[in-house]
C-alpha cells in the first residue's frame, strides 16, 4: 500500500515497513523514527547506515551479529531503539523486517 511519508508517496507493507528501499531518504527515516517516538542523533544514523550496508550485501541481521559488529553493542542498541531495537531500526532504515528463521 501507499503511504505519504515526509511529503512523498512510498510503498509500505501492512506493518509499515518500506517495500522498496530506493524510495528511502533521510527525511523518510526521520519521520518513521518520530512515529516510534525516537529523536534521531548522529549515533542513531551511524547504526542505521550500518544496517543498510549489511542489507545491501544480503547479510541476514540478528541482534547477536549487531552485538559483535563493533559498530554498537547490544546494550547501546537498546538505549538507542528501545523495546524491539532490530525491528524498530530496520523500519527506520527502510529495510525489511528481519526474519528469524525457524
Amino acid at each position: 500500500m501507499e503511504k505519504i511519508i515526509a511529503g512523498i508517496p512510498v510503498q509500505v507493507n501492512e506493518e509499515g515497513y518500506l517495500t522498496d528501499f530506493s524510495q528511502w531518504n533521510q527525511a523518510v527515516g526521520t519521520e518513521l523514527a518520530q512515529e516510534a517516538s525516537i529523536v534521531m542523533t548522529p549515533r542513531h544514523w551511524e547504526v542505521i547506515t550500518y544496517l543498510q550496508k549489511e542489507f545491501k550485501n544480503d547479510v541476514p541481521l540478528s541482534i547477536r551479529k549487531i552485538g559483535k559488529s563493533g559498530v554498537v553493542d547490544i546494550k547501546e542498541f537498546y538505549q538507542l531503539f528501545p523495546m524491539a531495537p532490530l525491528k524498530t531500526a530496520s523500519k527506520i532504515a527502510g529495510i525489511p523486517k528481519p526474519v528469524s528463521c525457524i
Partner: protein, 411 residues
Amino acid sequence: MKRIIILGSGTAGTMMANHLHHRLNSGEWEIDIIDERKEHYYQPGYLFLPFDIYDPEDIVKPIKDFIPKGVNLINETIERIVPQENYVSMISGDHLSYDILIVATGCKIAPEETEGMQGAEWQKSVFDFYTFEGALALRNKLRDWEGGKMVVHITEMPIKCPVAPLEFAFLADSYFKHRNMRHQVELTFVTPLSGAFTKPKATAALEHLLEEKHIKIESDFAIERIDNEQKTIVDYGGRTVPFDLLVTVPTNKGDEVIARSGMGDDLNYVPTHKATLQSKNWPNIFVLGDASDIPASKAGSVAHFEAEILTDNILHYIAGEPLKEEFDGHANCFVETGNGKALLIDFNYTHEPVEGTFPFPGIGPLRLLKESRINHMGKLAFRWIYWNMLLKGTHIPFVSATMSESGKQFD
C-alpha cells in the same frame, strides 16, 4: 576403493548411512560413519520425559542397532576436518581421508553464552530440557515441586524444533491440571520473537491457545543475563521477569568441531546451498540436518526430507551430473497442545503453515493448524515411525520430500 565419510550418527547421519548403503555399489565405495556416542537419543522424547509421559528406556537405544551391516561405525570424537586435504582427524590421533564427506554433527545447547545461566541456580531452579540430562533433572524437580512462577523461555533463535518450548508450556499446563495444582502455578512464556511463533497464521492459532490456557506471553525479550540472587531474567532493555522455576532453551550452536575446522558461521553452522545441500565452499562436502545454516526448521522431519534429496544428489555428484536444486525447506511438525491433543503444521521456505487436511487433500485424517486428538495420536506414533522407519530411511507413505499444495487453504 573410494570412501564416503558421514560425520555424526544422529537422526540425519543414520538416515544417510541407510540410504547410501542401498544405493552405492559396495565394491566401489566404502561407507564410514563416526560418532562419539554409543547411544542414539530420540530428542523429541525430551519434551515428554519431564512430565513422566516417557521413560528413559523409550528414548535411548544403541546406535549400532540402526547402522546397516557393511557400513563401518567408528566410535570416536572428531577433532578436525581438513577440507583442503580431504581428511578428518580424530581425538585419538587417527586420520581418515575421504572422497566425499557428509557433515551431520547437529547442534546443541550453549548455556555458557548467557551470563549467569550456569550460575548457582543451574539445575536447582534453572533447567533446560534440550538434553537428556536436563530433561531428566527437570522431571525429578517437577515430581515434588509445589508451585509458584514457572517461566518457559527461549534465549535466541534459531533453535532446533522451534515449537518445542511452546509445546512444553502447553504440556506443563495440562500436567499441573492433572495434579490439581494448576491454580498454584503462574505460567509465563518468554520469547525473543514478536509473538508465539515466526509465521503469522500459526502465531495467531498458537496465541489463541496460550490465552485459553492462561499462559502469559512476554515477547521481544532479548535476554542479557540471569540474576541468580533475585531469581529474575533480565533483558538488554532492563525488563525483568521473576521466576521460581525457569525452563530455558539456551542458545543453540553447531558442534565445536566446525569451529575448530574453521568451517562455520558465528554459531558454528556450515554455510550450505539451501536447494542442493552442497557446502558453499567445498564441492565434495555435503551438509544436512541441524548442522547446516539453511533457513529451514531444525527438525528430524526436515532431515528426513533432506536425506531423500541429498542421496540423489550424491549419486549425481559421483556421476559428474548437475545437482538437483530440489530441497524446498519442507517441514512437517506435530505440535502438542496438552490434554491429549495436538495440531499439525506443514510448511516450506515460501509457504507458511495454513489450515487444511493432511496427507490426503480434503480427507485428512490429520487436520492442519487445528487441535485434534488424532493429531496427538500422530505425535505419539511418530516415536514408532522414528525408530522403525525414519532412521532406516524408509519412505513414509503418502508424504513427499517436497511440500504438496493441495488440500490447503492458501489466501
